[in-house]
Amino acid sequence: MSFLEFVEGPLFAVAAGIFLFGAFWRIVGIIRIGRKKDIAPPKASAAAGFVKGNLRHFLPRGIFAKRTAVHIIAGYGFHLGLFVLVFFGAFHVEFLNERILGFAWPTLPRWGFILASEIAFAGLIVLWVRRISDPVMRLISTPDDHIGSWLTFIMMLSGCFALQESHEMLRAMHMLIVDIWLIYFPFSRLMHAFTFVLSRGNSGATYGRKGMNL
């Protein structure tokens, strides 16, 4: 078995398995801790609050716009760019089609892929330099924050390096780092990709009962 076959085959299967099982286990674990039922007479629906809370926090209120502008722009640039390039990049859809799903969907032209990647890179770089240059971020950041950022960046960079599709080694390196990233994911801060639904929902529900949508 070649190195490429290994990282795209058995190692990928293990990594994906750890990723899926780990994420599921963690989410279920959080929910299972449980919370006492709130018996105070509600003013409005907590369930509706759960949903509203999830939607409301996609954008901070206008009064905070100036203070949070760079963070929001860089944050969305990174997340949206990454989402687009992963799920609409021809190489990725091809991989998913062949390896897992058995079907494909329309993908971006190469220039669209490059553009999405550029936005994603710019966003991630700005987010990380923000983390090291803002006194608040410098105080509250932990190693997990930095590792998460760098691992994601290196994963994206290795993908960028393999764009010419002319050397197996570059493709294999990218896949290897993807596998490492998938294994790291469920044990780290990267899980915010799933946990944000719970946290927004929980406070949305708590405030929703009081008739407030924070």
Partner: protein, 343 residues
């Protein structure tokens, strides 16, 4: 004893530097030249018949002359009617191989060497009054973000660019052609993807730092006193002459790099291939000059001058640092005299 430890640390640095220099020297010497070797034989001196599969008794030179439109001196002009090829590419290749690739790569190394020597002789410049423990704000968060975003993009582009430029002469002899091919392919993709981000970073940097970077009379005095690098105090406002020069080098050099880079990314934008040839020359020239001076910038901003890194990492600087290096700015910002001691 302390002195011995101190000196041996310095010697270790010097040794490391020499090793680095040597590592780069060797392959440069081994780099292939593009001229034919001295003992080559010219088959076209008219005495020997042409190769057996030649098309008659017209010499090779004459055949190529015809392709070139008949004028052996026309090495640089655009294609004429009936001309099948130009040789401007050859001229370009000469410049790129023999000037750029052979010599330009030395520039950053020379700068690193000079910095090392300067550090060994002068040492890091400490804040003479010591840290006061009180700070004043110097750069806004947005300005810091602009700087570090540019730094990140610059480093990525610089490294990938150097690999593309110097891979063949410098890396291939050590790691082999296959490894070089992998590295260069990776570098090319990375360089092309991050290139447009440099333009974004440049615009952001310009907007955040242009105010305060215009040259003034006080800068002349700074030049005459050699920036205080060799003793003596010089006055400065928010940015001194050195910083201002670096800013404009980055902006102007950056504009050259950006414009040439755009042409190289989208070559169909021009009809005449000479634009692209010039672009590669000026792109490399401006980039390597910036890389070389960037080492100086990083040196002063980190180990070369105590207290400098705070300005860009935390946005605040120690008051004594401000009074020593940017006294006029300190007075403007705080309203206090720079000559008074900070309690």
């Amino acid at each position: 004893m302390q002195y011995l430890i101190h000196m041996s640390r310095k010697l270790l640095w010097l040794g490391a530097l020499m090793l680095l220099l040597f590592a780069f020297t060797a392959p440069q010497l081994m780099a292939q030249s593009v001229r034919p070797p001295g003992n080559a034989v010219n088959l076209d001196d008219g005495t020997e018949p042409g190769p057996s599969n030649a098309l008659g008794d017209v010499s090779d030179t004459e055949i190529w002359d015809q392709f070139r439109g008949g004028d052996p001196a026309n090495l640089l002009g655009p294609a004429l009617d009936g001309q099948a090829m130009t040789t401007t590419g050859q001229q370009w290749r000469m410049v790129r191989e023999n000037l750029i690739r052979k010599y330009l790569g030395w520039l950053p190394l020379i700068v690193i060497g000079l910095l090392a020597v300067f550090y060994l002789i002068r040492g890091p410049m400490r804040i003479s009054a010591g840290r006061s423990g009180k700070t004043i704000p110097r750069f806004s968060h947005n300005a810091r973000l602009a700087h570090w975003f540019m730094a990140a993009v610059f480093i990525i582009l610089g490294l990938t660019g150097l690999i593309i430029l110097l891979g063949r002469p410098v890396i291939a002899p050590y790691l082999g052609l296959q490894a070089n091919s992998i590295l260069t392919s990776a570098a090319m993709q990375g360089h092309n993807l991050f290139g447009p981000l440099f333009i974004v970073a440049l615009v952001w940097l310009f907007i955040k730092f242009v105010r305060g970077n215009f040259f003034q009379l006080v800068d002349l005095k700074w030049i005459f006193k050699l920036g205080g690098f060799f003793g003596s105090h010089v006055s400065s406002r928010q940015f001194n002459f050195g910083e201002k020069s670096w800013f404009w080098m980055v902006i102007l050099g950056g504009i050259v790099i950006s414009a040439t880079g755009i042409l190289l990314l989208f070559p169909w934008l021009v009809d005449d291939i000479r634009w692209l040839q010039l672009s590669t020359i000026f792109h490399a020239l401006a980039a390597v000059v910036l890389i070389a001076v960037a080492f100086g910038h990083v040196y002063v901003g980190t180990i070369g001058m105590e207290g400098s890194i705070d300005s860009m990492l935390k946005g605040e600087v120690d008051e004594n640092w401000a009074k020593e290096h940017h006294d006029l700015w300190y007075e403007e910002v705080t309203g206090k005299s720079a000559k008074e001691e900070t309690s």
